[in-house]
């Protein structure tokens, strides 16, 4: 098991490095960073001065190498835009995004899994139809629109929740629902499909024939097997939520890492973008790794494969 884990970690690191290098190259191709930094009011001379000041006139590989060695020492440089150390900037923003991401995935799992299970147990029932409707609506509704509707109803009309910001836990309720609802349909459909598959399999019939209680059949035998692909999906969704909660963060003025990444790309704030890409890709890698371990625990056959 240990050699397997070490091998996986080594591979993960290599993936992270490759991602950072490719993104570094792409960012340089996407426009002149000096012009972006100089802003709209700058003249050609201003841009040249900035190019020299930030060392953009040097070969890209040299710039990448310097960044990488500093990053390995935990120094991600200073944000061109905010003039603050990137690591402290990201740490602040990640708190918001992590809170939102964890709450969002919990909301998605806590609603999608029970709904999926019930829908599979009672196919074509009212609950199955409601679940299907929620799933289609969740996939069809753009997040920013859903977010605004929630704001209109719960913040403006009812006055129950604050419209935007991140000062208290109440500020996170609506963003959590919007983000979680985005991830919910896929998890629910996969749970339902997995459960339907498993419930029709021979070993469930055998378990029932042996006189096992319905609860034991459902949770010990059926759900444990049906949930395996859901764990993998949830890991990917979690990674997506951390990097891709841009719209939700924008609508609710949350100032998280997702929105920071989006804005930093537009501003060509290279140190911030580089660090964020590395952090996000590491998250993906860690979550996928954890999902594999969890799946191996759920299904012992996977440990040997």
């Amino acid at each position: 098991m240990l050699p397997f884990i070490l091998k996986r970690l080594g591979l993960a690191l290599l993936v992270a490095l490759t991602v950072s290098f490719i993104s570094f190259s792409l960012l340089f191709l996407s426009g002149d960073p000096a012009a972006a930094l100089a802003g709209e009011t700058a003249s050609g001379e201003d841009i040249e001065a900035i190019r020299r000041l930030y060392g953009f006139d040097r070969p890209m590989l040299v710039q990448y190498g310097e960044w990488l060695f500093a990053a390995l020492r935990g120094d991600f440089g200073e944000s061109y835009y905010f003039k603050l150390p990137v690591q402290s900037l990201i740490a602040d923003r990640l708190q918001v995004t992590m809170t939102l991401g964890v709450c969002g995935i919990l909301f998605a799992l806590l609603t999608a899994v029970p709904l999926g299970v019930i829908a599979a147990i009672r196919p074509n029932s009212i609950i199955d139809r409601v679940a299907l409707f929620l799933s289609v609506a969740g996939q069809a509704m753009p997040s920013f629109w859903f977010g605004l509707i929630l704001i209109v109803v719960f913040a403006i009309q009812l006055g129950w929740l604050p419209p935007s910001g991140a000062a208290t836990w109440r500020h996170f309720i609506m963003p959590t629902i919007v983000l979680g609802y985005y991830a919910m349909p896929a998890i629910m459909r996969l749970t339902r499909a997995g459960m339907l598959d498993v419930l029709n399999s021979d070993y469930i019939r055998t378990a029932r024939a042996k006189g096992a209680s319905e609860g034991r059949v459902m949770f010990k035998h059926a759900l444990r097997n049906a949930i395996i692909p859901v764990v993998s999906l949830a890991a990917v969704q979690m990674g997506f939520m951390l990097g891709g909660s841009i719209v939700v963060e924008s609508v609710f003025a949350l100032h998280g890492a997702g929105f920071l990444a989006w804005e930093s790309i537009a501003r060509n704030d290279l140190p911030t973008v580089q660090a964020l890409i590395l952090v996000f890709s590491m998250f993906y890698i860690v979550f996928t790794f954890l999902a594999d371990v969890l799946n191996a625990w759920l299904d012992p056959r996977m440990r040997s494969s």
């Binding site: 426009g31 100089a38 009011t41 920013f144 006055g159 609710f252």
Partner: protein
């Protein structure tokens, strides 16, 4: 599609909220404002955004102040000034002024600030604002001389705008990062809290000197960054914001129909224009090297209709490569009325009876660019429309690869024609005209200290630019300010939101 959804949601927000009263936070004497954009750094020399200008005017003072209504220059941190020679300005400074941290304002602060920002090594972001200054020297504690690199008549305008005075001891120690987190100035408001990119809290400076800016009336100003304008409106409806600005015209129109809000519209110095490659940098045989084609472009677009239908408010058709209020921006120039038939005739004369195809670039206001494209298509100019990030378009433009583009320029609120026309017609990397005569005239106009001579030469340059149809100037922009009924504010045309002028009803 996104617009439709946003519009629907916005409309829904408005409809359900009609019954909701909006409460200003008058009780705690706190004005709550939203910025759309995350501010990079509060240090005014290290940001170039409009929001940065707003904070700069609240937190710091310049030596001179320009009355935004009359455009008259009066002393602020200086009580008087005079030109010693063409490149030396002497200032008598106001006594008894203190910075927010208690440091006294003296000639040392001016000398330090000028020498610091004029040094290119210190990396001031908008070099244009400061690179005309060479150095400053102290004559006595309250007399200082600023030496210019060359003749620069717009010096007074810059000293009344972006050139703020910083405390020498504090800044030497804190630097731009420190100043960004804990700004210290002499201005009407002091900064009591900064959460980078998210939140700024200002408090009235109780010891503010007798400045022409006036004394702050509202004690606290709480500024939050809320990127989505619909969310800003929701906050306004729920009573947790008192003032928002830069509201799109369609949203502002809806808000204006409601009793609980005041919508105030004011012009800005930003001018939209079409830049054409008359110098042939994107290909010597490109159609825009022909005067008739450039004239055809000017005649093809119904600019009044664009202003009426899209920009609205106090926007106006602009015929010059500068904003009309700017010194030297003469208005008696060749203007092109909307005349698509004449445009077609001119295209035929130029050898394009069936029109031609060209690349057309834009970086903002897609809806305006698309409207312009439809006018051009109607006379036979087929466009390959490309919407780019500003930095990418700028790069292409500097490389001379842009035959036709829709661009805008805000002149950094500098009320002098040099801030726009000279930016683009003096053979710089963004000049797609490269006319030697225009260069020569602008050089005289930009460096003369005689106002009449300046006007004479700007007139020559602008007459040639419009006569030759080097550009197709389009329109000026405007800004909508929306505030609750408890708030009183009259915006100014320079698009600077002045908290010192905001009062409670």
């Amino acid at each position: 599609m996104k617009r439709i959804f946003l519009g629907t949601a916005g409309l829904a927000a408005l409809t359900v909220s009609l019954a909701m009263p909006a409460f200003a936070d008058k009780a705690s004497d706190t004005l709550r404002v939203a910025f759309t954009k995350e501010l990079e750094n509060v240090d005014s020399y290290f940001n170039s955004s409009r929001e940065g200008v707003v904070l700069q005017r609240a937190v710091w003072d310049g030596l001179i102040y320009r009355d935004p209504e009359t455009n008259e220059y009066v002393g602020n941190l200086a009580t008087s000034w005079e030109w010693i020679d063409d490149t030396t300005l002497e200032f008598k400074l106001r006594e008894g002024v203190t910075f927010h941290n208690g440091e006294a304002f003296t000639a040392d602060d001016v000398v330090f600030t000028v020498n610091y920002v004029a040094d290119e090594q210190n990396g001031v972001k908008t070099q244009r604002n400061v690179n005309w200054m060479k150095s400053a020297e102290k004559i006595d504690d309250y007399t200082v001389r600023i030496t210019l690199k060359d003749k620069f008549p717009a010096a007074i305008e810059f000293l009344s705008g972006p050139v703020s005075m910083y405390p020498d001891e504090y800044y030497a120690e804190a630097g731009p990062s420190g100043m960004g987190l804990k700004p210290v100035g002499t201005g009407p408001y002091k900064v009591v809290e900064v959460v980078p990119g998210q939140h700024f809290v200002l408090e009235a400076n109780e010891n503010y000197h007798d400045s022409p800016k006036g004394q702050p009336s509202i004690k606290n100003v709480d500024i939050r960054t809320i990127p989505d304008v619909n969310t800003q409106m929701a906050e306004l409806f729920s009573g947790s914001l008192d003032l928002i600005w830069q509201v799109p015209s369609d949203q502002a129109e809806k808000l204006a129909t409601m009793d609980q809000f005041t919508v105030s519209n004011e012009s800005t110095m930003r001018v939209g224009y079409l830049q054409m490659d008359s110098a042939g940098r994107s290909g010597a045989d490109n159609p825009f090297t022909k005067k008739e084609v450039r004239e055809a472009v000017n005649y093809a677009i119904n600019r009044q209709e664009l202003v009426d239908a899209l920009l609205k408010g106090k926007s106006q058709v602009v015929n010059t490569p500068c904003f009309p209020s700017q010194f030297g921006c003469v208005q008696d120039v060749t203007a092109y009325e909307y005349n698509p038939e004449k445009a077609k005739e001119l295209l035929a004369e130029a050898g394009y009876p069936d029109g031609f195809s060209t690349e057309f670039y834009a970086y903002r206001d897609r809806q305006y660019a698309e409207a312009i494209v439809s006018y051009l298509n109607a006379v036979g100019i087929k466009t390959d429309f490309k919407m780019l990030q500003y930095s990418a378009l700028r790069e292409l433009n500097m490389d001379g690869k842009v035959p036709l583009s829709f661009q805008t320029w805000g002149s950094y609120s500098i009320n002098d024609a040099s801030a726009m026309v000279s930016q683009f017609f003096k053979h710089g990397s963004l000049d797609s005209t490269r006319d030697d005569e225009v260069l020569e005239w602008l050089n005289v106009a930009d460096s003369s200290t005689d106002p009449d001579e300046r006007i004479e030469y700007y007139t020559k340059a602008i007459e040639k630019i419009t006569g030759e149809a080097f550009w197709a100037p389009m329109f000026s922009y405007n800004t909508n300010y929306v505030f609750t009924q408890e708030v009183v504010y009259t915006p100014t045309p320079d698009e600077v939101l002045r908290f010192v002028d905001v009062t409670w009803k």
